[in-house]
Amino acid sequence: DTAVSQTPKYLVTQMGNDKSIKCEQNLGHDTMYWYKQDSKKFLKIMFSYNNKELIINETVPNRFSPKSPDKAHLNLHINSLELGDSAVYFCASSQREVDTQYFGPGTRLTVL
């Protein structure tokens, strides 16, 4: 019955590698998001998709590329990982942009 799920939960990798994080929501929502939460717990939006269309693209390095194959899925691919990419990445979804956002459990990324 998981509403918003993410895989993997933990990701440990070396600098320079490429990795992907997957997100799926079974709530029938139209809008999905990726957030980054740094070590100080500051939560900042990275991307937002509405019905598979990119609507928010914050000043994120272009090494980060979101992909939405359908409105229930939003994946995040990261190229050439850097130490500063270490953080917890949260996926979220909402029915519309102003509605309550439901967050996934997070993916803890550690870049060595």
Binding site: K41, V98, F103, P105
Partner: protein
């Protein structure tokens, strides 16, 4: 200056205490004000939201908005150890095209000890 400011704490209180958590903001266009609760190693979950100024109560929780001061508060009465979490305030900022994005405060870490 960040759009939303929140003291990160930590805040440690004894069980049964009244807790006051606060945020200030700079954008007078904000209309909706939300409080999310995040337990350790979990995603944030919406606790309460209010529209414009005034108070809203839900059980032991009261959200208060003072738009004239650009100040919002969350009060927790009879705090319990299960309230120990990080509390984040959030406000949607309007974007072109009718979309919004949530601006979060830094979160205040609360510990309620028995």
């Amino acid at each position: 200056q960040k759009e939303v400011e929140q003291d990160p704490g930590p805040l440690s209180v004894p069980e049964g205490a009244i807790v006051s958590l606060n945020c200030t903001y700079s954008n007078s266009a904000f209309q909706y004000f939300m409080w999310y609760r995040q337990y350790s190693r979990k995603g944030p979950e919406l606790l309460m939201y209010t529209y414009s100024s005034g108070n809203k109560e839900d059980g032991r929780f009261t959200a208060q908005v003072d738009k004239s001061s650009k100040y919002i508060s969350l009060f927790i009465r009879d705090s319990q150890p299960s309230d120990s979490a990080t509390y984040l305030c959030a406000m949607p900022r309007g974007l072109s095209g009718g979309y919004n994005k949530l601006i979060f405060g830094a979160g205040t870490r609360l510990a309620v000890h028995p």
